[in-house]
């Protein structure tokens, strides 16, 4: 008997431990890594302890009554039922406590609302279900997608330490620099949140919201979208990588070089195999959330691509939909999200995967042409 109980017990324990080798039983808010996040944490703890103190007093009186004034102990009911002075006192004392809470809260809020003298501006745009980061004046612009493999989500593979909190490209920011964040959204409302920075701000289509941060310690800080934004709301994490300013300058240079290389890749000629390999990667990263890894989609919102008339039909129409999206549907315009080579690859992949065998390859140069051509016509239209 005893052994069975111990075995069961240790089995349960090991379940907890193995299941979460990483995890402590986290109980509280993080103090974070900015001055603001620390004052928020201190406010939180102050108010928490005030609530605990009030609770202890009120519940002690209540439980004292429950134990001592019970009928079974012969308690006789007294007859008092009104006392104006007491009522006034217990109206005024809480009011005083509230004022005492409001003062530091107001001070912190005023600090949070002062984005002046920012040294770096980053525009953050929420898309269903990814973030776009544009470093204004730095010519850097990229999307950040969840990078946790689907097999881990569907329990076919062991979940890694940063399950659901990892992305393909981090938002790299310099430490000890006041950074202004400008938030907006492309489709529905999202909310950009990193607990360690105590920044949570809604990204709203048609609005540009402002927030700021000054990170004090280098490190990787993880957060998530906080506002319900559709089916994959739970799968659009935020990962901030804070590095010292010198390292940040180096990163900027590397990132620019990488963007140039991607542009150059579109100029050379690609074989069908190359396009298919690259296309599959892009598809799984960007398209599979809606159209599903095997192209079956989730109709009616997300149509199937297998045997789809668009995918098997006129290539120009297929390209147009991928580049420019479909108005009034969940299909986004990918012209800015992917490079010309990636666009060509993914379209080629869709036209030749899962039994769709058109045998057609879309050349990256064709996409470059289209992107540039459209740019020109837009400019003409503007004049």
């Amino acid at each position: 008997m005893g052994t069975i109980r111990i075995t069961t017990c240790s089995f349960m324990l090991s379940l907890l431990l193995v299941g979460n080798a990483q995890a402590a039983w986290t109980l509280n808010l993080t103090p974070g890594v900015t001055e603001i996040s620390r004052s928020v944490y201190n406010l939180h703890m102050t108010i928490f302890w005030i609530c605990v103190a009030i609770g202890v007093v009120v519940f002690s009186i209540m439980f004292w009554s429950i134990f001592h004034h019970r009928k079974s102990r012969g308690a006789k009911a007294h007859n008092f039922h009104e006392h104006t002075l007491v009522e006034v006192i217990w109206t005024l004392i809480p009011l005083g406590i509230l004022v005492a809470m409001a003062v530091p809260a107001t001070a912190t809020l005023i600090k949070m609302y002062d984005p002046s003298d920012a040294e770096l501006d980053v525009q953050i745009t929420g898309y269903q279900w990814k973030w776009r980061y544009q470093y204004l004046d730095q010519e850097i612009d990229f999307f950040s997608n969840l990078s946790t493999p689907r097999e881990q989500i569907s329990n076919e593979a062991q979940k890694q330490a940063h399950y659901l909190l990892e992305v393909d490209r981090h938002l790299v920011l310099p430490t000890d620099t006041k950074i202004r964040l400008l938030l907006t959204a492309n489709d529905v409302i999202h909310s950009w949140w990193v607990p360690a920075l105590a920044v949570k701000k809604d990204a709203i289509p048609g609005f540009i919201n402002e927030a700021w941060t000054r990170i004090e310690e280098p490190g990787i800080y993880r957060g998530q979208c906080a506002e319900l934004c559709g089916v994959d709301h739970g799968f659009m994490p935020v990962v901030v990588e804070a590095v010292p300013p010198a390292e940040f300058e180096q990163w900027l240079a590397d990132a620019r070089a990488q963007q140039d290389a991607a542009a150059a890749a579109a100029g050379r000629s690609w074989t069908l195999e190359e396009l298919m390999t690259e296309g599959e990667q892009v598809y799984q990263r960007v398209c599979a959330a809606c159209h599903q890894p095997n192209g079956t989609g989730m109709p009616p919102a997300f149509p199937a691509l297998v045997n789809s008339p668009v995918v098997l039909g006129d290539v120009e129409r297929h390209i147009d939909i991928v580049l420019n999206g479909v108005q009034g549907s969940a299909m986004q315009a990918f012209r800015e999200q992917l490079s010309a080579a990636e666009l060509a690859a993914v379209i080629t992949y869709e036209r030749n995967a899962w039994g769709n065998n058109t045998g057609e390859a879309v050349a990256p140069s064709r996409i470059v042409q289209l992107l540039q051509g459209d740019g020109q016509s837009e400019q003409e239209g503007g004049q």
Binding site: N20, A23, W25, T26, L27, L29, V40, H44, I54, F59, M62, S65, I66, H69, R70, A75, A77, H78, F80, H81, E82, H83, P94, A102, A105, L109, N155, K159, A161, H162, Y163, L164, D187, V188, I189, S191, W193, A198, V199, K200, K201, D202, I204, G206, E210, R222, G223, Q224, A226, E227, L228, C229, G230, V231, H233, G234, F235, P300, G328, A330
Partner: protein
């Protein structure tokens, strides 16, 4: 003497004076009797409570472990949405209207509600509203999946086609609530027995009078906002569509102008019930009657001035944030007064702990915990960390489950012997109480921790550091959920059998409802009593 005179003067109405209920299903379909309609509301609410509860258990089952096991994210979102809508509009609100129907006429010495035919109508449109709402689960594209707060443009441009049915269902629920509220106000203001002055009204009646005014004020706002959605979806307007010059934040302002008073619509009648029960089992008059009335009215008025504390992260200007933060903190004052009054009522009383009292005491303690987390959420700079996390989920479940729902159960146990004529089975009542009390805390207390640790709400899958407490919460949810079968058993058992209950069911009970026999006759106070 007077009865004899009445009979001779209006002899032809004699038959209708003392008739009992009609036979068969017609009794329920065509009834204008406040007791029958009260029972219909309560049974309907119980059915919706169980339906919404099954959805909650599906949610908790999916969240038992990280990874996607049982349901797809799309269906998960439908479940969170439908669970919220059904619990708010189908379980809590109709339960309070049912209690109001049963008890208000008996408490103020009126023979029935002021507008009995409208009363029938306001109940009978509800099943249609929920049939429409629940049928969306079987439609192409699935049920509404944008959360019970249905923020635009997720609920307009990006919504499934079933959103139109959802809008229609909300309209019907709103009409039902408004008719119910009009009826309650008309009854309380016009049908009080001679001598039943306003400041003698039982607190349940007072709290419902104030709640009914809230309903009339905000239900049209809800109807307005869903109609604007309908226009955006089908008639080419752009109220909430930024691309057409509209404003998605406008939706939130209008919604929460309804939504915050709605929160108090779900808690003020609970305050009323608790204010009836605690004095009874303390055998002592309620402490600070007048201040209780004023506190309830203050909470109701403040509820119109705090809506944007649900929107601290939308990017309001600093002055807006400060105004809504201060106004929200103020609510703690009248709410505190109520808690202090309840505790002082118990102080130096002669307490016993029958099932209704157990639920009432649990209400005071756990609602206060929900109040504390509410106060923390009011602090705007800290709310940036709490907003849209499980901390919020913990907060509003603490005020709604061991708050509103425990009060409804306390009220049901308190008045059930009056309705059925049978004494409670105390043993089974206690089992139900203790399992619910333990279950509710195991479910919702850990949610404070996972919220503070950083888990957003409304996600079907989560990072590994949230795993332990999610598992605990899911276990608690199943304990709480299955304990409610005991409640169903208790109610059905009490309807069918039990010791005969006297007119004054509880030793310390005061009020007109305890003057009539148990079970209450089909018609009570056809001759108004005189209140001294």
């Amino acid at each position: 003497m007077s009865t004899l005179e009445t009979t001779t003067v209006t002899g032809e109405q004699h038959e209708s004076h003392h008739h009992g209920p009609a036979a068969g299903i017609g009794r329920w379909l065509f009834t204008t009797n406040h007791k029958d309609i009260g029972s219909l509301y309560l049974w309907f609410s119980l059915l919706m409570f169980l339906t919404g509860g099954v959805m909650a258990l599906l949610i908790r089952a999916e969240l038992f472990q990280p990874g996607l096991q049982l349901v797809e994210p799309g269906f998960f979102n439908q479940m969170t949405t439908m669970h919220g809508l059904i619990m708010v509009f189908g379980a809590v609100m109709p339960a309070f209207v049912g209690l109001a129907n049963w008890m208000i006429p008996m408490m103020i010495g009126a023979p029935d509600m002021a507008l009995p035919r409208m009363n029938n109508w306001s109940f009978w449109i509800l099943p249609f509203a929920f049939a429409i709402l629940i049928s969306t689960l079987f439609m192409d594209g699935g049920a509404p999946n944008f959360g019970w707060t249905f923020y635009a443009p997720l609920s307009t441009t990006y919504a499934p086609p079933s959103v139109t049915y959802f809008i229609f269902a909300i309209h019907i629920m709103g009409i039902s609530s408004i008719m119910g509220a009009i009826n309650i106000i008309a009854t309380i203001l016009n049908m009080r027995a001679p001598g039943m002055t306003m400041m003698k009204l039982p607190l349940f009646v007072w709290s419902w009078l104030i709640t009914a005014f809230l309903l009339i004020a905000v239900m049209p706002v809800l109807a307005g906002v869903v109609t604007m959605m309908l226009m955006d979806i089908h008639f080419g307007t752009s109220f909430f569509n930024a691309a057409g010059g509209g404003d998605p934040v406008l939706f939130q302002h209008v919604f929460w102008f309804f939504g915050h008073p709605e929160v108090y619509i779900m808690i003020l009648p609970a305050f009323g019930i608790i204010s009836q029960i605690i004095p009874t089992f303390s055998r002592k008059r309620l402490f600070g009657y007048a201040s209780m009335v004023y506190a309830t009215a203050s909470i109701a008025i403040l509820s119109f001035l705090v809506w944007a504390h649900h929107m601290f992260t939308v990017g309001m200007p600093l002055v807006g944030e400060l105004f809504f933060m201060f106004a929200t903190m103020l609510i703690a004052v009248p709410t505190g007064v109520k808690v202090f009054n309840w505790v002082t009522t118990m102080f130096r009383g002669s307490l016993t702990f029958e099932t209704p009292m157990l639920f009432a005491i649990a209400f005071v303690v756990l609602f206060t915990i929900g109040g504390f987390s509410g106060l923390m959420l009011a602090i705007a700079p800290v709310d940036f960390q709490y907003h849209d996390t499980y901390f919020v989920v913990a907060h509003f479940h603490y005020v709604l489950v061991p708050g509103a729902i425990f009060a409804i159960m306390a009220g049901t146990y308190y008045w059930l012997p009056k309705w059925t004529g049978h004494q409670l089975n105390e043993c089974m009542g206690r089992w139900h109480f203790w399992l619910s009390f333990i279950g509710v805390n195991i479910t919702f207390f850990p949610m404070h921790f996972i919220g503070l640790a950083g888990m957003p709400r409304r996600i079907p899958d989560y990072a590994l550091q949230f795993a332990d407490f999610n598992m605990v919460a899911s276990i608690g949810a199943f304990i709480f959920g299955f304990s409610q079968l005991l409640f169903v058993w208790n109610v059905i058992h009490n309807v069918r059998s039990g010791e005969a209950a006297p007119a004054r069911v509880w030793e310390g009970a005061e009020g007109l409802e305890w003057e009539v026999a148990s079970p209450a006759p089909y018609h009570t106070f056809t001759t108004p009593p005189r209140v001294e």
